[in-house]
């Protein structure tokens, strides 16, 4: 049994008096798509940012291949991530944004053209980010995540702003990546976006993990026929 790509154990984060996440524990395996499902404000982004080292846990641990993100050598070659903000200046072009990301991680410039082609932004790459639609910014964020062809994808609401064709493209991309052996961890509050491709689910509500198991087991346990039914059942308990 291979070690998990991502392992979160007892993760707790408080901001002042507000407990954002409490005792969160789950694992994400290689070769699978794990859906991180919860409503807005349930703690998904906080959890993901804690895994990436952008937020400091109040308690517990979050590791990638057994190591904290801040201890990874060349982290972008291991983890490609889309966090809640694009992280790009509106006055620069898409290409320049990726050049800066690539430079910061020592990734060759050749990867930029490949990433732009993969996300379908090659024609718009020369335009300034301030002129991009939400969907285009999301595609650019995915391009940045894919630059170094990482073995783990950690994506926070990647379908946000994408049109139906874009969502279909995203589902195909994530499914293919997992089929090639990557670990895909993707958060969403819209089940319909990704329900057809997830192998495992982590359901979170008000900062507490309600379920962390394979989809098949969840369906059996909840006697549901669809993932949506199962999630609703879990959240109603």
């Amino acid at each position: 049994m291979t070690a998990p790509a991502i392992a979160v154990s007892g993760l707790t984060k408080t901001f002042g008096d507000h407990v954002a996440v409490s005792d969160v524990t789950f694992a994400v395996s290689y070769g699978s798509v794990t859906g991180f499902i919860g409503a807005n404000g349930s703690g998904k982004t906080t959890t993901m940012r804690a895994i990436l080292g952008l937020v400091k846990p109040s308690a517990g641990t979050a590791v990638i291949d057994g190591v904290a993100y801040e201890d990874l050598i060349d982290p972008r070659r291991i983890v490609g991530s889309v966090v809640d903000r694009l992280g790009g200046h509106p006055g620069i072009s898409g290409t320049r944004h990726l050049e800066i990301v690539a430079a910061s991680a020592g990734i060759s410039r050749k990867s930029i053209d490949t990433a732009l082609d993969t996300v379908g932004l090659a024609d718009a790459a020369g335009r300034k980010l301030g002129t991009y639609s939400t969907g285009m910014k999301q595609r650019l964020a995915l391009a940045a995540a894919l630059l170094a062809d990482p073995t783990i994808l950690l994506l926070d609401e990647p379908a946000s702003g994408l049109d139906p064709q874009g969502i279909r493209w995203l589902r195909k991309l994530l499914h293919e990546r997992a089929a090639m052996g990557a670990a895909v961890f993707v958060s969403t509050h819209q089940l319909a976006e990704l329900s057809t491709i997830v192998d495992d689910v982590v359901i979170i509500d008000r900062g507490i993990v309600l379920a962390a198991e394979p989809v098949g087991e969840l369906l059996v346990r909840t006697a549901a026929t669809t993932l949506e039914e199962a999630v609703i059942w879990v959240m109603s308990q």
């Binding site: 060349d74 972008r76 983890v79 903000r85 790009g88 620069i92 320049r96």
Partner: protein, 248 residues
């Protein structure tokens, strides 16, 4: 342990980022314009430019603008990173926060040096032009001139780094820029007048001393420079400590 190549990557990305955003260029042009305007105004106001006191005042008036703009440049650069989430992208590539911040400070210091060199050239140029209009000749090797020019070349990068550090501590762009300018342009001058024995030890005053201000209430140029260097170290240390533990 961070490899030298990783540090080089962060520096390269930071350099590319600064060169890509128009704000740095705009601030630099504005800095030179203000240096020319304030130096020119001071030159027109003095009775006899050939006296040491007048020459020192005119040179200093030109260089102070450069110092303030370099500070604003550093503030703008670091607060923009937080405003648009650029700092997240840096840390995803290089999780060592001290390295990311120090790289930013280093590149901003180089940008500050450019401010300083161009500011010095502007001050020398506008003063030389005025001298020529008065049928006089500005001696660049005159110690009064070289000390003023050297002062701004040294002060501008230090203030740029202070700007980066303060912008990291106070991430809100309006608060960082507004608060710092209020301190430098209003609080410190008031302190220097009202409590000169306290005011001369403050960072802005040490910058004025380094840029060879004729104000006798200030420290001498060398002491001012050393004090400013100490302030840079202090605020940078605080910024690294704060940034290391910050939630982003």
């Amino acid at each position: 342990m961070t490899a030298p190549s990783h540090v080089a990557n962060v520096l390269r990305a930071e350099r590319l980022s600064v060169l890509s955003t128009p704000a740095a260029r705009l601030l630099l042009v504005a800095s030179m314009l203000m240096a020319a305007l304030s130096g020119g105004a001071s030159l027109l106001a003095v009775d006899d430019i050939t006296t040491d006191a007048s020459l020192q005042l005119a040179m200093h008036s030109s260089t102070v603008a450069t110092m303030v703009f370099a500070l604003v440049g550093g503030l703008y650069s670091s607060t923009t990173d937080h405003r648009f989430g650029l700092v997240d992208q840096r840390l995803l590539s290089q999780p060592n926060r001290a390295i990311v911040l120090l790289a930013k400070a280093a590149i901003s210091g180089v940008v500050g040096l450019v401010y300083g060199l161009l500011g010095a050239a502007t001050a020398a140029g506008i003063t030389a032009l005025y001298f020529r209009s008065q049928a006089e000749r500005l001696e660049i090797t005159d110690p009064l001139v070289t000390r003023a020019l050297l002062g701004i070349v040294l002060a501008a990068p230090l203030f740029a780094v202070i700007g980066v550090a303060v912008g990291t501590l106070v991430r809100s762009q309006p608060a960082a820029i507004g608060g710092t300018l209020a301190w430098i342009l209003m609080a410190e001058p008031a302190a220097l007048v009202g409590l000169p024995n306290v005011g001369k030890w403050l960072p802005g005053s040490s910058g004025l001393a380094l840029t060879f201000s004729p104000d006798e209430a200030l420290l001498d140029q060398t002491a001012g420079g050393l004090l400013l260097l100490a302030y840079v170290a202090l605020v940078l240390f605080a910024a690294v400590a704060s940034f290391r533990n910050a939630d982003l």
